[in-house]
């Protein structure tokens, strides 16, 4: 996983509420046996028309908007617990999702796959979406160490689980974290009262 401390980048506005994991990655793409390639199919049914042509109205197909920050409507990532949704967003290149609420399981999956969910107030979200929409060059700063989001709309702090914060800053996911504890685990094995 890549380290995350601070970034200042442009953002992609997606002002839709209750985006569920089925929209992020439709179920028919779940058959693969590894994590790669899901980025190509993120928001598949919104990005492409039924005949396979690009849907020019969808924001990811609009060249004016780009950047690793996705700003989305309330209750992002609801629905099925599939981790593939996080893989798809990360695979596409998103590093941050800003919303006014995240579904619990999605939040965990996102953090474990190098995507930072930044929760802001509804008012902040509304103004931010409007500002980006009007000016696609708008820069947004996400400072993880300070837990602050900054843009011309203003500054706001956000919450993050302290363990997950350490993981993101160091570029660890759960597996990396557990591997970094190898010695502690080995000591535990040696010192157990009842070994298996």
């Amino acid at each position: 996983m890549e380290k995350f401390t601070k970034l200042t980048e442009t953002a992609v506005p997606l002002p839709v509420e209750n985006i569920d994991t089925d929209q992020i990655i439709p179920a028919r793409f779940l058959k693969a046996t590894d994590k790669k390639g899901f980025g190509d199919n993120v928001f598949r049914d919104w990005r492409f028309n039924k005949d396979g042509s690009k849907n020019a109205d969808f924001v990811l197909n609009n060249d004016a908007y780009s950047g690793p920050i996705l700003v989305a409507g309330d209750n992002f990532g609801c629905g099925s617990s599939r981790e593939h949704a996080a893989w798809a967003l990360a695979g596409y290149g998103f590093k941050v999702v800003v919303s006014s609420f995240f579904a619990d399981i999605f939040k965990g999956n996102a953090l474990n796959n190098g995507i930072l969910p930044v929760m802001v107030t509804s008012d902040y979200l509304k103004s931010l979406l409007k500002t980006i929409k009007e000016n696609p060059k708008t820069k947004v700063t996400i400072d993880l160490e300070e837990q602050v989001i900054d843009s011309e709309v203003g500054q706001q702090s956000f919450d993050i689980d302290p363990y997950k914060k350490v993981c993101m800053i160091n570029g660890y996911d759960d597996i990396d974290y557990l591997l970094s504890k190898k010695e502690t685990i080995e000591t535990f094995e040696k010192e157990r009262k009842i070994a298996v």
């Binding site: 046996t33 994590k35 363990y163 974290y177």
Partner: protein
């Protein structure tokens, strides 16, 4: 200091470390794997170039997607064939013990681990399957995990977890004739609902569970997940010890004595506190059937489907083709399935055979018996139960998950009812449009013979 529960004791003995303001690192003693949920986890390790940390603490079997006929022939279904091939390759590459198709120890993952003595009290066990809770019958912390957690355990033999809360369900008194462990758990879930256990680990206590065989305890713990609990446990006692003693991987000689001494320290202390408690009277429990599309929608076989305004109920009944206020007695049934990790152990077949003996199944019924393992299949033959069933017209198949999740060809046709000893009656679980009625092996056997649902308590008296 307040006493500790069985769950506390086992959990606390497995904490490797606690992350400041974060989760705990829990050590996993045994990791069970099968063909469906392991390939992505192996791929994850490969991508990172890391080895499997403790291959000797992993046991693999093929069960979810395997055929239950002609297991000696090459597998017809491509997906199944590829999954088994992948599992075999991965196990060979990483030095993991595999009891593959046709092996004398092959079978459903939650049936083989206890019967081989892999499952022991005081352990932590995980598997990429939600019914891993079965092993809790031994006083083991056992629960299902997702694929990325399978990869975590492969990599480190540990998991990052937050400790769940504690729930106790006590049932005391005397069970009526014809009431089996399956009825006890279906009754509990029908009373407390499918969400009562969410966020909790459950302990079952009271004389009803103390008096149960290990097979019965496994049936109960198996369905803990159906009330939302991560897992269920029963305190280890003499019944537990004598079940384990002498099995293939059971501790031997001095190690046996040492382990038993430890296991005896595990039961919940008298002054321990639970976050939530339920109490039931055994006399209130009767043979159960489900009428809806989740395991909480159960009634006494002599009862009636609830008659109340409820959108969920209406949707379920529409799927099932039942009416509010209706009794299920007398309903014609064309399919009966005795199998799955809930009820496919030797005791389940003994109970069914005892009822079936000297009778014939109804002509219109397809009755499938799927033993949980090769060992169970062998024992069926040794006890002559195979003859009882075959003479009665039942189809005895080869071990596997089979119609429990209908991933292989064992599917119930659209619109048909199946009285099933499995654990889930969700829409489409046993095949698209299939209608599942969960029940005990005794109820299932009686349905096969009568060709319809009967009030078993009447024919027992």
């Amino acid at each position: 200091m307040a006493g500790k529960t069985l769950f506390d004791k086992v959990w606390d003995d497995h904490i490797v470390d606690t992350v400041a303001n974060g989760p705990q690192i829990l050590y996993i003693d045994k990791h069970l794997i099968h063909e469906v949920t392991s390939p992505q986890a192996f791929a994850e390790l490969e991508e990172r170039g890391i080895p499997v940390a403790r291959p000797d603490q992993i046991v693999a079997t093929a069960d979810h997607n395997t055929p239950t006929v002609d297991q000696h022939l090459p597998i017809q279904d491509t997906l199944s064939r590829n999954q088994l091939k992948k599992l075999t390759e991965n196990c060979e590459k990483h030095g993991i013990t595999l009891y593959g198709l046709g092996h004398e120890y092959n079978g459903i993952v939650h049936v083989i681990a206890p019967e081989l003595g892999v499952t022991q009290p005081g352990m932590t066990m995980v598997c990429g399957d939600s019914h891993t809770s079965t092993h809790g019958a031994f006083g083991t912390i056992a629960f299902g995990i997702g694929t990325s957690q399978v990869a975590q355990v492969f990599a480190s033999q540990c998991l990052l977890l937050t400790k769940p809360k504690k729930l106790r369900v006590s049932v005391n008194g005397e069970l009526k004739k014809g009431v089996l462990p399956k009825d006890v758990i279906l009754y509990i879930i029908s009373q407390i609902g499918t969400n009562a256990g969410t966020g909790y680990f459950c302990e079952y206590a009271g004389n009803v569970f103390e008096d149960m065989s290990m097979e019965g305890r496994m049936t109960v713990c198996n369905m803990s997940i159906e009330m939302g609990a991560r897992g269920g446990m029963i305190a280890p006692d003499e019944t537990t010890f004598s079940y384990i003693e002498g099995r293939k991987f059971a501790p031997k000689a001095a190690e046996w004595d040492q382990k038993v001494a430890y296991w005896k320290t595990l039961p919940t202390d008298a002054d321990a506190k639970f976050d939530k408690e339920y109490h039931f009277d055994a006399a209130d429990i009767a043979p159960m059937v489900t009428y809806g599309t989740n395991p909480g929608m159960g009634i006494k076989v002599s009862g009636r489907i609830p008659d109340k305004e409820d959108e969920n109920l209406e949707k379920s009944l529409e799927y099932m083709g039942f009416q509010k206020g209706e009794s299920l007695i007398g309903k014609t049934i064309n399919y009966v399935f005795i199998g799955s990790c809930t009820n496919s152990r030797i005791e389940d077949f003994r109970i069914a055979a005892n009822y079936v003996k000297g009778k014939q199944k109804a002509a219109h019924v397809n009755a499938w018996l799927v033993p949980g393992s090769q060992q169970v299949a062998k024992q069926l033959v040794e006890e002559g139960l195979d003859h009882v069933f075959i003479e009665a017209g039942f189809a005895l198949r080869q071990p596997g998950c089979s119609a429990c999740l209908a991933m292989n060809d064992d599917k119930i046709p659209r619109g048909e009812y199946c009285v099933s000893t499995s654990n889930r009656n969700f829409e489409g679980r046993q095949g698209q449009g299939a209608r599942t009625i969960l029940a005990s092996p005794l109820m299932a056997a009686a349905t096969a013979v009568e060709g319809k649902i009967i009030d078993i308590t009447k024919s027992l008296n």
